[in-house]
Amino acid sequence: MKAVVLAAGEGTRLRPLTVSRPKVMLRVGDRPILQYAIDALREVGVRDIIIVVGYQKERIQTFFEDGERFGVNISYVAQRKQLGTGHALLCAREHLDSDFLVVPGDNILDGAMIAQLLDHRSEVTVLATESAQPRKYGVLELDGDRVVRIIEKPPRRISNLISTGIYYFEHRFLELLEREVGAGRFELSLAVQTAIDEGFKVRGQLTKGLWLDVVFPWDLLSLNSRVLTDGPSRQAGTVESGVTLVGPVSIGEGSVLRSGTYIKGPVSIGAGCEIGPNVVVYPTTSIGDNVTISPFSEVRNSLVMDNVSIGGHSYISHSIIDEGTTIQSHFVTAAEPKLLLIENELIQIDKIGTIVGESTEIGHRVVVDAGRTIGAYCRVEAGVRIIKDVPDSARVV
């Protein structure tokens, strides 16, 4: 059976982390989000995968190539304009000659869920899960295991069951989908509702498997800590004497941990890094490739991406530092619980530091207030305190 993986969207709510990569290529644990879907499909023997790409498609294609490294065969289909998930699926139509699966590329999911879906096939089957915030998703109304209604982002609470976006479809569904998309109804859930109305047997299968969604940047931190906890600990590189490693710590090839450094896992450190002397890293932190962290700095519960350099005496907590950003000494992120107003909705976050976009340069002695974002390609001069969000390409003096 073939599977269509939807990976064309940017994920605008994750900006600035998506200025040069699609949401699906953000890393959680030791791999990009999209790889969770690919790995799950391979685990249950689905090898022929069509990825619908769009925004920054080259990032996906150069990473997954033809899939051989991941044990699958991947073909790519481009969705030129990101109109909606139904339209995205239709882009893959020429590759589909029989029944197929649809899997979102931007969720963390596991093979057991796909296996469950394959065991409960109907004319259309949708995997459902319970959510604390159903209003953000396609909500399902079930009668037994029959789906009665699917409503995208309902204003009022109907049920706690939402669609995971993971579907099994009989091939003939595509004809219906084509009509829907032709009529300007681009979302897949709309076509599924039409299928219900036209008498398709649409089954809703509740799953207890691991299904996680990333909506905002700080979701990456909580997902990362969930995923890293049971990650493997693999140690390559050089660990100088006087370094203390506690709990699962994985270290990539060519990395050097200098004397006096204390690392408490779960922590994952990529290849070619130089950390220390006297650096402290606390759970749950992921550090990418080719990163340096200078003496007397502390990093906790953070994501540090490739090619980042962090100056000495810095304190980075509950934060995300994107690729190629360089930070001089005495950089402090204040991490506090925060109530943020986003899209006219108040969101309570347990603890949040800062998000810094890619290729930004931060001078000495910069302090960032909790919950503030610094965009990509910025320059922040020495001694500044950041109290407001900084847009991309800004210069802060």
Binding site: E68, S75, N307, E323
Partner: protein, 598 residues
Amino acid sequence: MCGIVGYTGNRQALGLLVEGLKRLEYRGYDSAGVVVIGGDGLNLQKAKGMISELEKRLQPAEGTTGLAHTRWATHGRPSDENAHPFLDCTGRMAMVHNGIIENFQELRERLVAKGHRFTSDTDTETIVHLIESHYKGDLVAAVRKACKELRGTYAIAVLHADHPGTLVAARFENPLVVGVSAEGEALLASDVTPLLPYTNDFTFLEDGDVVELKGGAFRITDLAGKRVERPTHHVDWSVEDAQKGGFEHFMLKEIFEQPHAILQSMMGRISDEALEAIAPKNVDKVKIVACGTSYHASLIGKYALEAIAGLDTTVEMSSEYRYSNLARESALVIAVTQSGETIDTISALREAKRRGTRTVAISNVVGSTITREAHDTIYTRAGPEIGVAATKTFTTQLVALYLLAFALGRRQGSLGAEELRRLREELRKLPAKVQQVLNSHEAIKAAAARLKDVRDVYFIGRNINYPAALEGALKLKEISYIHAEGYPAGELKHGPIALLDARTPVVAIVVDDAVRSKMISNIGEVSARDAPVYAVGYEDDLELAKVVDVLLPIPRTDPLFSPVVAVVALQLLAYYVALMRGCSIDKPRNLAKSVTVE
């Protein structure tokens, strides 16, 4: 250059050989052929043109041992007759060859006098008749005797209907690699790519080696018949590395792979200890030898070595190096070649060693000839590059040269620890900056649309971006066939400016360095002749934007590293121009990926 593939095992060879040839297609060729040993003698098929041409005409043939070849013409035009494999007079022995035989006229006359019948004008055919003349039932012995009489360069592979299940091959100055699969198949090829589906462990033959492949194993002997052992190299590439992954062309894929490749090339190498490990001692002068794109990388390396390490550095085309007569003019020779098989560069390296000079190779291929001969090697780790136009191997060569400059700078004491820290941080940002250039590919595409119908383009730059201009011109001419020349901007008024008019655009590389104001006045000279000016420059350079027609934006970096980002923009420009002109981008006419003949 020519490509060889040989297979002996338990499966039908014909299809496997053609698949293998396709993996060598990137080397460039103008005809192709294949031979298998069948139940009733040899089945030989060959055709001028693309491998697809051969495939179209291919008749099914039984046989589990065979050879295949792609030919890049040196002696004799591309044609069906001149394509390899060649047969001997009996039609029971077939052979393929890479390289050039220098004494073939003399051998040929002798063989014709003895009654051998020739069917082509090639030097290759001489070899098969020569082996035939020595053949008394022992194929290996016959090949060995023939090799002793040959002068020139070769990698040859032979099979004989009397020995089904056996291949014999020999090498002198042309690459040949052998490997065996877990299923008991033995293979040989010009480089590792056709063998990747079978194994990741390879043995590279050395000059004077003769190898016999039989029964899922191989045995190497020297020309005297003595057994020799060659090490096995593990090459970490996968088959999928050589596939297109949804990109329209390998070249585009390889351009987009650059952020990752550049990261790989510096990974684990920029710490103080790592730099110290690669720094050669007692160097007072440096010479870099290279050809083609690698030569342009070397020119940039020269500026970097002079600026960072304070070392007097010269760059020489490999093919000219040996004609310089000074016995020992430099303390260090750096040989730069992507494939590690470029014969001119290998010869220059050998000459340097003969003169007693220390040598460092910069290469992309683990275990390649140059890496076995140089004292030290820095691998560029770019992964396989299939597009004939070099892209990611160029930018990673630059990283290797920068690292060497850092290392030598520290060793010489001319690079302070604080300055190194600053440069290192800047270098670390390069992958993300290259990504930024890639992000603006739509803007570059728009510029390409305006350039696509011109006849000539001049590229200008100064200082470290002068070689970047040369590389920009090379990329454009090699894939789009538009006439393009790179010039130092200051040279323009000493001649080429006479050629400028409204139909001859100029591409200028302008960054924020000491020569910026000079570049701006050169642009003024160009504009005064009505020539449209395209500039590769910093995205926030408003002054520059005002004086040029089109600005291809690149992000700010240290001027020393600016050629990396500038060249990526020029690669995309060349790619899109060629695409709009409908050119054969991955396999431009007359060009070969790795030039293994002189």
